[in-house]
């Protein structure tokens, strides 16, 4: 029993790991394709059919580039930076429920690596540790542009973490649970959380954009002001790690948005379709990935549509708009919950 | 669940005493205000760990709530402390506490 469980978990972890990497790999390709569509051009179409092998070509290019560490850089930290960035973004996948239960023989397998009862706190913890990858990398390069990029990135991430946390607290107040599995199950019984938390969703969405350093909040790496931001000095696979971690973050945060606010792997009328058991679970997983891909597309759509913020605008948005809004949201949620539980009678 | 088999409470007390002493040592040993401050955080951290161990020993949640307050205070202290350091750095361009010696007997 125990060994089956362990073997299954290992397989699941590897599967999640692989899927994350593959999705991130193809996100790079998708990004270029989406950009091309939005700008009315072709995009990459030479490598393989429809350019499908382009990501592998990019990967090979990254790997074979010269490994270069600047003379004044702090060598250990220079290597540590990208590693932490990669590590933290891969850790988040562990608590996301990817689908319903699978029943094989006597065993029930959950499509979730671990359903800890503090899932949301785990997420916040991992996200807050994610800053270190950028900070350490930018610091270790010993380059002014890198340092500025890292400073920008870290202050941006710290600032938006607050609003994100407040939005999540409102959600937690509503669901009464910190476990992601439980939150998804509740959305199966009732409506998706977006119905109850529209403002919270908007805040979370904006913060997710800022946390992943994606446009329109990609100030840490504004090429027109800061050359390449915190990864100016990085090359070869270390640069690859940084770029890749950005796409992984995008994937994971899309998955989170879907899980927290759009019912996770649930979809409307799923119990009246006449399928159940393993078949339903598989359909659910497919639907879940559909939602994720939509949000990834949304990320790209925004990137190629909205211009970049100025830094003071970014900070103003974070501190003077989002945080008060998040507090307002918290307040309203509290009052509504109070009414429902009869505190005011 | 994971119950700590065979780890006596005394081990935790000793661990925390060592961490605390290292923190004190750091405060006395270093001259850089930033590092001194980190060592103070280390001291608070050892207190937190000891409280959690005691809380487990007495099966009492009060100690864990106390840890909560210590964390809150540590965060508040850090924000003020770093603001002080920044202010001093603006004036003196150093964080070495020996550079500040205007007030001597």
């Amino acid at each position: 029993m125990l060994s089956t469980e362990i073997i299954y978990k290992i397989i699941l972890i590897l599967a999640v790991f692989t899927v994350t990497l593959v999705v991130a790999l193809y996100s790079t390709f998708a990004e270029r394709k989406v950009a091309a569509v939005l700008q009315d051009r072709y995009g990459p179409n030479r490598a393989g059919p429809l350019g499908m092998f382009q990501p592998f070509a990019d990967g090979v290019k990254m790997f074979t580039k010269e490994e270069f560490i600047p003379g004044n850089a702090d060598k250990q930290l220079f290597i540590l930076g990208p590693s932490i960035a990669m590590l933290t973004c891969l850790m988040t996948g562990a608590v996301i429920p990817w689908g319903g239960d699978l029943t094989i023989g006597d065993y029930i397998f959950k499509l979730q690596v671990t359903d800890i009862n503090i899932g949301i706190l785990y997420l916040l913890g991992v996200v807050s540790v994610g800053v270190y990858g950028i900070m350490i990398g930018g610091w270790a390069s010993n380059n002014k542009y890198s340092l500025l990029g890292a400073l920008r990135a870290s202050s941006q991430m710290i600032s938006y973490e607050i609003a994100m946390g407040l939005a999540l607290i409102a959600l937690v107040m509503m669901t009464g649970s910190l476990s992601l599995g439980e939150i998804v199950r509740q959305q199966d019984e009732g409506l998706a959380n977006i119905v109850y938390q529209p403002l919270g969703f908007l805040i979370f969405l904006v913060c997710a954009f800022a946390e992943t350093n994606r446009a329109p909040f990609d100030l840490p790496e504004t090429e027109s002001e800061l050359v390449g931001g915190y990864h100016t000095e990085f090359s070869s696979m270390k640069l690859g790690f940084y770029l890749f971690s950005e796409y992984i973050n995008m994937f994971i945060s899309s998955a989170l948005i879907a899980t927290l606010y759009f019912g996770g792997y649930n979809f409307p009328f799923q119990h009246s379709l006449g399928i159940e058991g393993n078949a339903l679970s598989i359909v659910q997983t497919v639907v879940f990935f559909g939602k994720i891909f939509f949000f990834i597309f949304f990320y790209m759509w925004v990137r190629w549509t909205i211009p970049r913020f100025r830094y003071d605008q970014l900070m103003k948005l974070g501190w003077k708009t989002l945080i008060p809004l998040a507090i307002l949201n918290l307040f309203i949620t509290g009052i509504v919950i109070g009414f429902k539980n009869g505190f005011f009678n | 669940m994971e119950i700590i088999k065979g780890v006596p409470l005394t081990s935790y007390i000793l661990l925390c005493s060592m961490l605390f002493s290292i923190g004190v040592l750091g405060v006395l040993y270093r001259r850089n205000a930033l590092v001194i401050f980190m060592c103070i955080e280390l001291m608070l951290n050892s207190v937190n760990l000891l409280l959690v161990a005691f809380s487990r020993y007495y099966s009492d949640s009060n100690a864990q709530v106390f840890v909560f307050f210590i964390m809150a205070v540590a965060a508040a202290e850090v924000s003020v402390g770093l603001a002080i350091l920044m202010m001093i750095y603006r004036n003196t361009k150093t964080t070495d506490i020996d550079a500040l010696n205007k007030l001597k007997f």
Partner: protein
């Protein structure tokens, strides 16, 4: 609890004043609020002895002790705000200063009324954090910077020690409630373990640090002399009163029986404070440093009350001593502030030269204050010291009384140094020092308080 709510709301009101732009009104509002707080407190005073609010869930207790010290702290705070009216005149920082002071007052209230170590710890921190900031409120001055850094680093270090002490006591008792601690330690089968001893000693060390008792005093002279004079006077009066009250409360509520086991620690604290405070003060040329060392020596006297906890008069003596000490110190700092502002911020003792000719009211107040500190009858300082020593004598510490008297004789010397400077030396600058009406009335008021509160012992018998 009411006091805490009133003052905290005043603090928030102050912050709102910055947003909604009624800054001109805020200082009168705060003064009125603090006065209202005192009135409410006095009206509730009779209730205090049996008023034990259950809804505060054994975290804060409004017993007579807490009530008396809260009133004392409120009055000190009100007088301090009036005395330092111009500390808030700077438009850009006015609300910051005021809000920080009000929050610090909340911390002080928590410290005198706690019944749980969490409240003690939070109270100390709420009091300390604004003080760290205010000590550095003169941002361009290197002396102020140094003061704030030293205060901050040593204060946080002491907090660490305090917490370790609390943790070890929790480890041996199993509760943070002071009355649980008392019950456990008073029971027959309680044996003092090494863990408990270390915990109590660490707690004593941390509290001794907060009251700036020698040998944990080393921060006080630097911080007192580096901070702006207004802030120094707050530290020397409000903070010290709150800290000593918290220290005392620790022993009357948590370990009333343990004091006998740790009296050697107190001997060291008292003797060191008396001697280091008085002897080093003799060599000071800076008035603020001198007052700092003198305050250390006063702590030595105050700690006598803790040592003789079982005497019936110990609480009364401590309360009277802190009252007399606080008003005396407020008066001394008010004069020092006016004089040193007149000498463009110089706070050397020489600024007092010839003060009697330049402004007799200032010189008179300073003389009364210094004589009271030295313990000359019939001023309140004399009665304060007399009560303390009488109590110690009753408790059988004749040798300690002799040491204390010897040490305070040294004190007379340096207090007289200033008095002589005021009356016999000639100043380089002989222009008269102008005083506003508020300052004049405050000086007269403080002088009256110093002279009269010792008579017929009504303050003494309040508690």
């Amino acid at each position: 609890m009411n006091e805490i709510i009133i003052v905290a709301s005043l603090g928030i009101l102050t912050l709102l004043a910055e947003i909604f732009n009624f800054k001109k009104l805020i200082l009168p509002l705060v003064v009125a609020g603090l006065a209202a707080n005192i009135v409410v407190g006095i009206m509730e005073f009779d209730l205090a002895s049996y008023y034990n609010d259950a809804d505060t869930l054994r975290m804060i207790e409004s017993d007579l002790y807490a009530k008396c010290f809260m009133m004392l702290l409120s009055i000190i705070a009100l007088v301090w705000v009036l005395v330092n009216y111009n500390f808030f005149s700077d438009e850009t920082n006015q609300t910051d200063h005021l809000a920080l002071i009000l929050f610090a007052i909340v911390g002080g209230f928590c410290m005198v009324a706690y019944t749980n170590f969490v409240m003690l710890f939070l109270g100390i921190e709420i009091l300390s954090i604004p003080m760290y900031v205010l000590a550095g409120s003169n941002k361009r001055s290197l002396r102020s910077n140094e003061a704030t850094l030293k205060y901050f680093l040593m204060g946080s270090f002491a907090t660490g020690i305090l917490l370790f002490g609390i943790t070890l006591i929790y480890g041996s008792i199993g509760s943070f409630y002071v009355y649980d601690v008392r019950m456990k330690t008073a029971s027959v089968d309680f044996t003092i373990t090494p863990m408990f001893t270390i915990g109590v000693v660490m707690l004593i060390a941390a509290m001794a640090f907060k009251v700036s008792s020698a040998p944990f005093h080393f921060w006080a002279p630097d911080v007192y002399s580096g901070s702006p004079t207004s802030v120094t006077s707050f530290m020397a009066t409000f903070v010290k009163t709150a800290a000593i009250a918290a220290f005392m409360r620790l022993f009357i509520t948590a370990f009333p029986t343990a004091i006998e086991s740790y009296k050697n620690v107190f001997f060291i604290l008292i003797i060191a404070s008396l001697f280091i405070g008085n002897i080093i003060a003799v060599f000071q040329t800076n008035a603020k440093r001198l007052l700092a060392y003198s305050s250390i020596s006063h702590v030595g006297f105050m700690l006598l009350a803790l040592l003789c906890l079982s005497e019936a008069t110990s609480l009364k003596s401590l309360f009277f001593y802190t009252t007399a000490y606080s008003f005396t110190t407020l008066a001394a700092f008010l004069v020092l502030k006016i004089v040193s502002e007149n000498a463009s911020g110089d706070d050397d003792i020489s600024v007092f030269n010839g003060l009697a000719q330049r402004n007799p009211l200032l010189a008179g107040t300073m003389t009364i204050a210094l004589l009271s500190m030295a313990g000359i009858p019939p001023l309140s300082g004399f009665f304060a010291k007399y009560n303390m020593l009488f109590m110690a004598l009753n408790h059988g510490y004749l040798w300690l009384v002799i040491i204390a008297i010897l040490a305070s004789l040294v004190g007379v010397y340096y207090y007289f140094k200033i008095i002589i400077a005021m009356f016999t030396r000639n100043s380089t600058d002989s222009t008269a020092i102008p005083l506003s009406l508020l300052q004049k009335s405050l000086l007269v008021l403080l002088m009256l308080i110093i002279i009269t509160i010792g008579w017929n012992g009504w303050v003494f018998n309040l508690i």
